[in-house]
């Protein structure tokens, strides 16, 4: 039965726009989906490779800005030279966003991994803050607090059939779903492979990993690059959906949101970020009629503390354990030694 579950979920997700009339809920689904992709990318770095990276929103924001600027074009003066860029199609923006974010992931990876543990946490936060301040102050490029507006939506060109521009929510929903699935598959393939094993090994016991021949720095940087590129892609999706972005995208609170999603869902598991994402994507919707934003956040903070106290490994592992203890047959299905299952 557990095998059929993913297929069931997939069919369910594909069907949603067909029966869901409420445009607002569809909007929430899209935003949640985008954040789930970002959370999955964070999970690769935080959950599987064990790096306490709290600057993740920097990659998200860099991807968003890079994508937007690629599509909008810009005209700036840099060190006495005029740099002019004309507009490019939005899909290219997605690619550029991922590449630029991936590059920043590489730089941060190489530089920051000399620094460990709690110090690395602080470096990662600092990086995000600096990025925010740059976005805020480099007005010539980013428009600063006035925001980048009129970001064009993606246009898919089908040879022979013409172009299709993603204006409406339904189309965007399917795009996010498709990219989300790709992201999931990428991570799933990665963590179940030799590369993934190396990442998990260095999280578990770095000295030992080194001693069996794993180039620790190389795999840390790889995790950072893939993680950053994926987050950058999510950022691009965000920018072209909302059609407007400003430096607030770099606020620490967004990183916190992603971290909450990963940790409460279950870090180091494939389903964790999804479960966490759904919960914290929809809680605001459910609470909206009852509670002011400040109250909502108090609840999230309290919920996070409660989950860390009661289910320290997250919801998904707790469910897996529950399945194992409830039915003897369940032990065969849920208790596999496949690293994909996570712990």
């Amino acid at each position: 039965m557990t095998r059929a579950l993913p297929a069931f979920w997939l069919v369910f997700l594909l069907s949603i726009p067909l029966w869901l009339q409420d445009q607002y809920l569809l909007h929430i689904l899209i935003i949640t989906g985008i954040f789930i992709i970002a959370a999955m990318s964070l999970n690769l770095l935080l959950g599987y490779t064990g790096q306490l990276s709290l600057g993740h929103v920097a990659f998200f924001g860099i991807g968003a800005y890079a994508s937007a600027l690629t599509t909008l074009g810009f005209d700036i003066e840099l060190f006495g030279f005029r740099v002019v860029h004309h507009t490019w199609p939005a899909l290219v923006g997605l690619l550029v966003g991922m590449i630029v974010a991936g590059l920043s992931g590489y730089v941060i990876g190489r530089l920051s991994f000399k620094v460990r543990g709690a110090y690395f946490v602080i470096v990662s936060i600092s990086f995000a803050e600096v990025t925010r301040l740059v976005a805020l102050n480099w007005v010539e490029l980013t428009q600063g607090p006035l925001a980048l507006t009129n970001i064009p939506p993606y246009t898919l060109g089908f040879p022979g059939l013409g172009d299709y521009t993603l204006w409406n929510k339904t189309a965007y929903y399917y795009l996010v779903l498709a990219l989300g699935l790709i992201a999931y598959v990428v991570i799933s393939r990665l963590v179940g492979s030799r590369i993934g094993r190396a990442m998990i090994a260095l999280k578990e016991n770095e000295t030992l990993a080194s001693a069996v021949g794993i180039d620790v720095t190389r795999y840390l940087v790889l995790a950072a690059v893939v993680s950053a590129a994926m987050a950058g892609g999510a950022g691009s999706l965000y920018a072209h959906y909302l059609k407007i972005i400003d430096p607030d995208i770099f606020l620490f609170i967004y990183t916190v949101t992603m971290v909450i999603m990963v940790i409460t869902g279950g870090k180091g598991t494939l389903a964790g970020p999804i479960v966490g994402g759904v919960i914290f994507g929809f809680l605001p919707v459910i609470l909206r009629p009852f509670a002011a934003p400040a109250v909502q956040w108090i609840l999230y903070g309290g919920l996070m503390i409660a989950i860390v106290f009661l289910l320290p490994q997250g919801i998904v592992p707790a469910i897996q354990r529950w399945i194992t203890t409830r039915k003897p047959a369940g032990a065969l299905l849920a208790g596999s030694s496949d690293p994909r299952e996570g712990r």
Binding site: S193, R197, A198, N205, A209, A211, V212, G213, V216
Partner: protein
């Protein structure tokens, strides 16, 4: 420097290695060689510098002076994983395994060196990657069989009793396909049964062509399994030779038991 042992030519040469931590001298002057196919035992009282020596050879510690060469490649300055790639693999004194993974997964991780799949092959799930993974799985099972842990394959490493955890540590080292193995106190804390099992394993490994350097406190075990003994005290070698000679060496006895008692 003494000439190579009876077994073959020199594979590991440690030349005048010294390690100073500020004012503290961990190794004063370490100078010896290991030959192909030998089992050399490194012994000495606590604090003599044995683990420090291991850390220097395997790249976890930078020596203040001296050179280490493995099959003529200079090891100074290389990172641990690079040294492992040359075929020189170590185990750890404290049980060092991946606690939160199964025994099987542990060995799979240890087999990392053997894998070649690139990032794209992995992401696209190309057949080449699947075949490679299947081969690694076969090799993992074989290694578990050699060390005698095949029945524990699906168990979480943390749940293993101490003796089996140390065996798993050795399996990890074997997975890295060493041409020379450095065993750091392989039988410490074990009962006689477990020690005997490890001894047999060490002999099996040597028979397959792997050179072995081991550090140990368990005298009967070391004397029985080693071809040659090197004795360390206060960071320098005080004696070297076959086990029988070492056992009678007055300098060695004095080092272990101290001065003050006249020996008959």
């Amino acid at each position: 420097m003494p000439a190579g042992g009876a077994a073959g030519e020199v594979v590991l040469s440690i030349a005048h290695v010294a390690v100073h931590f500020g004012g503290l001298v961990a190794l004063a002057d370490l100078d010896f060689t290991v030959c192909e196919g030998e089992i050399v035992g490194l012994i000495g009282p606590n604090g003599a510098g044995k683990t420090t020596a291991f850390n220097v050879v395997t790249g976890f510690l930078k020596p203040t002076a001296g050179e280490v060469r493995y099959r003529n490649t200079l090891l100074n300055g290389l990172k641990p994983h690079e040294i492992t790639s040359l075929g020189l693999v170590r185990t750890f004194q404290r049980t060092s395994i991946f606690q939160n993974n199964t025994v099987f997964e542990n060995v799979l991780i240890g087999l990392h060196r053997l894998g070649q799949s690139t990032l794209w092959e992995t992401l696209l799930a190309l057949p080449r990657e699947k075949i490679a993974e299947a081969e690694l799985a076969d090799q993992a099972r074989e290694i578990l069989r050699v060390v005698g842990l095949e029945r524990r394959a699906a168990d979480l490493a943390a749940t293993l009793p101490y003796g089996e955890q140390r065996l798993l540590g050795m399996a990890l080292a074997l997975a890295a396909r060493p041409s020379m193995l450095l065993l750091d106190e392989p039988v410490s804390g074990m009962n006689p049964n477990e020690s005997a099992r490890v001894m047999r394993l060490v002999q099996t490994i040597r028979a397959s062509g792997v050179t072995i350097l081991l550090v140990e406190h368990d005298m009967p075990m070391v004397m029985q399994v080693s071809d040659r003994i090197v004795v360390l005290n206060y960071g320098r070698i005080i004696a070297e030779g076959p086990p029988a000679a070492i056992q009678k060496d007055p300098g060695v006895i004095r080092a272990y038991l101290g001065e003050g008692k006249k020996r008959a």
